[in-house]
């Protein structure tokens, strides 16, 4: 990505509702120009509130938001260089598609052929050319959303804000719209900030993702970094599937850590220098975990267990081994051929193993 100046700078912003509800807590973020940025987190973590503060519908209790270098305190929503696509789309039901898209220009005095041209252009962009005369109740959910998109894009905002833009669509359409949004963002080159609670959506669309938990931003990283190098138990657990164990650092050499892990025993991993002698989370992804009948040999971390469950999911199967003492480990196996035979049956004693380098050490 280009290292352009941030188009949005969120500077230590806190939002409280009343005395007790802290919806957003001391968030600092920089969103770069031209970026597809996702705000990801579980329900109620404050994503919408943060987005609404960018749009100007909520006012930060503390901190400042800068858009394009300008502080936004006191700037009304209708004066901000951002536009929003609402979760409910909020397409005006009493106006035609054309009038909906034209609305944002009419109210700011863009009229005549220029307005007409821009509306047609925007409708074409979202593949709704020829739908201008329809009323919103003659459109499908997906089409209404495109109207909402066109209506915002036609304003040529510096930043487009989207709140759960795909949540009202069915699974197939959602997938198509994910690609559509990415294509659109490339075409128009506008910064997109998308709120979602769907991690696969964020991973597949965004250039960078901020993961939020209870009002705070836990990690900001590109999708692959977020997946492979989560910085906390929360992010590790929230993004994808994860085998998560608790452990203690018993010995820290400059580049190797010796850990005592509950349910697994003592393992040695290439460790980040400077890890304190403390409790840490020890994690490995199921798809990096292998299952074998025999001990896999040296260089691997291996542990024996009893097959507790096998979940067939078409493209892959999940095998869960019971390690004793309530500890479990899951492994994902690709069903890469139609004749892949099941490697295990419930009750079998098998080895789960993974490369030491694939072990994640989480101190937060």
């Amino acid at each position: 990505m280009n290292e352009a100046s941030p188009i949005i700078r969120i500077d230590n912003v806190t939002k409280r509702f009343g005395q007790s509800v802290v919806a957003v807590s001391e968030v600092g973020l920089e969103i770069r120009e031209g970026e597809f940025f996702a705000l990801l987190g579980p329900s109620g973590c404050g994503k919408t509130t943060l987005l609404r503060m960018l749009a100007g519908f909520e006012i930060p209790t503390e901190g400042e938001i800068y858009i394009d270098g300008q502080p936004m305190t006191g700037v009304q929503p209708n004066r901000r260089p951002v536009n929003m696509v609402f979760q409910s789309y909020a397409v005006f039901p009493h106006m035609t598609v054309f009038d909906n898209v034209a609305y944002g220009m009419k109210v700011t005095g863009v009229a005549g052929p220029e307005m007409r041209e821009r509306v047609e252009e925007a409708l074409e962009l979202v593949q709704l050319a020829g739908f201008g005369d329809r009323k919103p109740d003659q459109l499908s959910g997906g089409q209404r959303q495109r109207v909402a998109l066109a209506r915002a894009l036609v304003k040529r905002p510096k930043v487009l804000l989207l709140d759960e833009p795909l949540s009202a669509l069915d699974a197939k359409l959602r997938e198509a719209m994910q690609m559509e949004l990415v294509r659109l963002q490339h075409t128009v080159g506008i910064t997109f900030v998308v709120v979602t609670h769907d991690q696969s959506e964020a991973l597949s669309m965004a250039d960078r993702i901020a993961v939020m938990d209870r009002g705070a931003v836990k990690q900001v990283a590109p999708p692959a970094d977020l997946y492979e190098f989560p910085n906390s138990r929360f992010v590790a657990d929230f993004i994808g599937r994860m085998n998560l164990f608790e452990g203690k650092v018993v010995n820290a050499n400059p580049d190797r850590l010796t850990l005592a892990v509950d349910g697994i025993g003592t393992i040695e991993v290439p460790g980040p220098p400077g890890t304190a002698m403390d409790s840490v989370g020890v994690a490995v992804r199921p798809e990096k975990t292998r299952i074998s009948g025999l001990h896999p040999g040296n260089g691997q971390i291996a542990i024996e267990g009893v097959v507790e469950a096998i979940a067939y999911q078409g493209n892959e199967s999940h095998i869960v081994l019971d390690l004793g003492d309530g500890a479990r480990i899951a492994a994902t196996l690709q069903n890469s051929s139609r004749t892949t035979t099941p490697v295990a049956a419930i009750g079998d004693r098998l080895w789960a193993s993974w490369a030491a380098a694939d072990t994640l050490i989480l101190s937060d």
């Binding site: 209708n78 929003m84 039901p93 009493h94």
Partner: protein, 307 residues
């Protein structure tokens, strides 16, 4: 519910008493009045049904047309003022914290708990020459005079030689004021209902697209609240048009409305046939208004259903 649907007899049995009630005490008297309107006054209590249109012709005399026009104007003005006043009230309630809404709505309909006559007399106590408004004004006048005296300008009598109370009662303004006061809840409630149905993100979307608050109101809120506005206009206008107590108590000699004339026909003038004809003219006008409402409502989009 289910048994009702399966056993229509139960349904009919429940329907019979109210039907008889309506027929005996509403439709029949109404029919009688309608028949009277084609009659002629013979004696003190005798009415002869001559099926003449004389009463209707008389009702269209300039004198009465003028009163009808005046009533239309006063009721229309009342309705318009109610609309203008109700919108901010409705906004305030609609955007209030959820736990405040029922309380605020209760305050709106609180006046209904008091008899109209008592409320009107209370209004007189506020508006009359020696009422609260004039007392308050006099208090300010005294205060102003004392300040002027203190700075040595007392002798110039800048505020006049003595306090002149405002004549707030017994004129058309007082009648409209009273009508607005009485009918405001009729406007607030349907407006509130349609504001509650309105998806608030419509308003935010309009602001987000660069529209001013005023533009948002006229281009988005008002069109989407149209069903409520139309209902409010109608159910405010109709009773306002038919009011007789308020013009009677708050108005002057020239403030009588059509309902006052009708009342007089049935009482002091004892001319039931003419009163009946006037009543029915008023009713026809009402039906006309309702027909217009359904015409207007047909073209309205309502609020958006789902996403």
């Amino acid at each position: 519910m289910e048994t009702w649907r399966r056993n229509p007899l139960v349904f009919w049995i429940f329907l019979v008493p109210p039907t008889i009630w309506l027929a005996a005490f509403f439709l029949v008297p109404l029919g009688l009045i309608w028949v009277f309107s084609f009659g002629e006054k013979r004696g003190l209590v005798d009415i002869e049904i001559t099926w003449s249109l004389a009463n209707y012709v008389r009702a269209l005399e300039p004198l009465y047309l003028q009163i009808i026009a005046k009533s239309l104007w006063m009721a229309g003005l009342t309705t318009a003022i109610c609309l203008v006043v109700a919108f901010p009230v409705v906004f305030a309630i609609s955007f209030a914290p959820p736990r405040w809404k029922p309380i605020l709505l209760l305050l709106v309909i609180l006046p209904f708990w008091t008899n109209l006559l008592i409320r009107t007399y209370a209004l007189i106590a506020v508006l009359r020459t020696r009422g609260y408004i004039n007392f308050t004004l006099e208090w300010f006048w005294d205060g102003g005079n004392q300040i002027l005296t203190a700075v040595g300008l007392g002798d110039l009598q800048l505020l006049g030689a003595s306090f002149q109370p405002l004549q707030l009662l017994y004129n058309n303004t007082a009648v409209v004021f009273g009508l607005v006061y009485v009918h405001l809840p009729f406007m607030v409630l349907p407006l509130y209902a349609s504001m509650e149905r309105l998806d608030k993100s419509m308003i935010e979307a309009s602001l987000d697209l660069g529209a001013s608050q005023a533009r948002t109101f006229f281009s988005v809120v008002a069109p989407l609240a149209k069903p409520g506005i139309v209902s409010g206009l109608i159910i405010t206008f109709i009773p306002a048009m038919g009011s007789f107590l308020t013009p009677n108590l708050l108005g002057g000699t020239d403030s009588q409305m059509i309902a006052n004339v009708i009342e007089r026909q049935f009482k002091s003038a004892n001319d039931w046939p003419f009163g009946a004809a006037l009543s029915f003219l008023l009713m026809y006008a009402t039906f006309g208004a309702l027909a217009m409402r359904s015409l207007l409502a047909r073209g309205s989009p309502g609020t958006e259903h789902g996403a």
